[in-house]
Subunit: 274 residues, 2 copies
């Protein structure tokens, strides 16, 4: 199978996609998350694999925007632990490294390590790409903060492992597909996108459709509607399958009262929930 | 008065802070949003002024995290329209510019202009700082995407105005302070942070405290709780003042049933709502 992910070779997303689909597939790096969705829509790949939420940073907004405004479905879920490494040229020691390149989120997540070692921070657009950058430019006094996989990908060495402030650092991913997935059985979750009317209490009544049918909503996220400032589209996740009567009843009620409603898939919940 | 904002001289935040407080104040740039909160907490400044939400990008997550986990209050709200300019050295024309520096969000918001003019994108950590960078480095074949104010701040020229894809591009800001604000009267809004119990229906019941007291909730946002993956703290905005009986009753009920609850202030709603 062909699977698209966001980033360059060595990215955390690539590691997560391999975990989800198995190694014996072709993994294709894309420039951004919207490109992953486009590749799936055009049929260039069988699946996309995109980050949804990080346990420290929160939602990955580009993923929600592409999902709620697009035509694709959620096909599966997975979670990996994010452990950052300080990467540099072979033979370099911690004391040789005066500055670090990485994505601003990774720099923030390793702020204590960086301050303790009095390193200069250089924000870069991607973690794995920052490893590629120090290699390509021959920056031997600099390091990159990225995955162990990125070190291997660019012939660099891991100078130190697990340099993040908080070890409870997990990222949740979705496999996305052109086909609607209607998984069933224990541990099934379902995703939805909806826009409520502008009446007071509309969101309360929308959530009520699930609550009154005994459905547990585990996640709710609002995203702006482009071109309509201060109007929102909601993304929700509930326990259970669309194939169950209470879930389909809840969705019928919500669809009837909402301005718009879209079912995004029922899929097996990721097993690692920390 | 002394007011802290995030960014360097010429930032959109600086323009918004001037609009809110008036020009005759001292505006102090901070490296990041957490630093703005720290400056207010320490008493180095009278107020902070921070972006809360953009009508295209959505919530500014660092602001919510500092607000819901901190000790400060919301003192006021303002909204400005974001209009991006292509900035370069004096005398340079559009056809001379082969690449543009800017923050990834600004690059994304001007993607059509960039593609139409076949420019290379160079992601940078800040819009105004990207203008400073091309000036400092003498990059005459490059432009920066930033505010008109940034062009003035660094002695550069505006090559083209209003290059954003979507003109409905607004950013909402909060003035933050050490003192609790309890504004009253028409057009008052109130902000809260709360954590619900893990019982099914807990969020529904929390929102219900407001709905049943006739209070209109205008905004709801969830943020991860650091160190407790897949647990969330909610940020809510409602119409009305804490000084009104229905609002204080709603808060009493919510505080009684929630794991934690904090009132963040009642303040005058921004007048420009688009």
């Amino acid at each position: 199978m062909r699977i698209a992910f966001q980033g360059v070779h060595g990215a955390y997303s690539e590691a997560a996609a391999e975990k989800h689909f198995g190694r014996k597939n072709r993994f294709i790096g894309c420039y951004n998350i919207a490109d992953v969705f486009s590749a799936v829509e055009r049929g260039d790949v069988d699946f996309g694999f995109v980050p949804v939420e990080n346990s420290i940073e929160g939602p990955v907004t580009q993923t929600y925007d592409s999902l709620v405004n697009g035509k694709l479905f959620v096909h599966g879920e997975n979670i990996i632990r994010i452990s950052h490494c300080l990467i540099g040229f072979g033979g370099r020691k911690l004391r040789n490294i005066s500055g670090v390149y990485s994505h601003p989120q990774a720099l923030a997540q390793c702020s204590r390590f960086i301050h303790r070692n009095r390193m200069v921070e250089i924000p870069f657009y991607d973690t794995a790409a920052s490893a590629k950058h120090i290699k390509d430019e021959g920056l031997k006094d600099f390091g990159a903060i990225a995955s162990e996989r990125a070190a291997r990908a660019y012939g660099l060495s891991v100078i130190m492992r697990g340099i993040e402030n908080d070890r409870m650092n997990y990222t949740r991913f979705f496999a996305i597909s052109r086909e609607m997935e209607a998984h069933d059985g224990k541990g099934t979750k379902s995703s939805f996108a909806f826009v409520t009317t502008n009446k007071p209490g509309a969101l309360y009544n929308a959530i009520g459709c699930f609550v009154k049918n005994g459905i547990n909503m585990t996640y709710l996220q609002s995203r702006p509607i482009i071109g309509k400032p201060w109007n929102y589209i909601f993304y929700a996740e509930c326990e259970g399958s669309m194939k169950s009567r209470p879930m389909s009843r809840a969705c019928e009620e919500l669809a009837k009262n909402a301005k718009s409603f879209r079912f995004l898939g029922s899929y097996a919940k990721a097993k690692v929930r920390v």
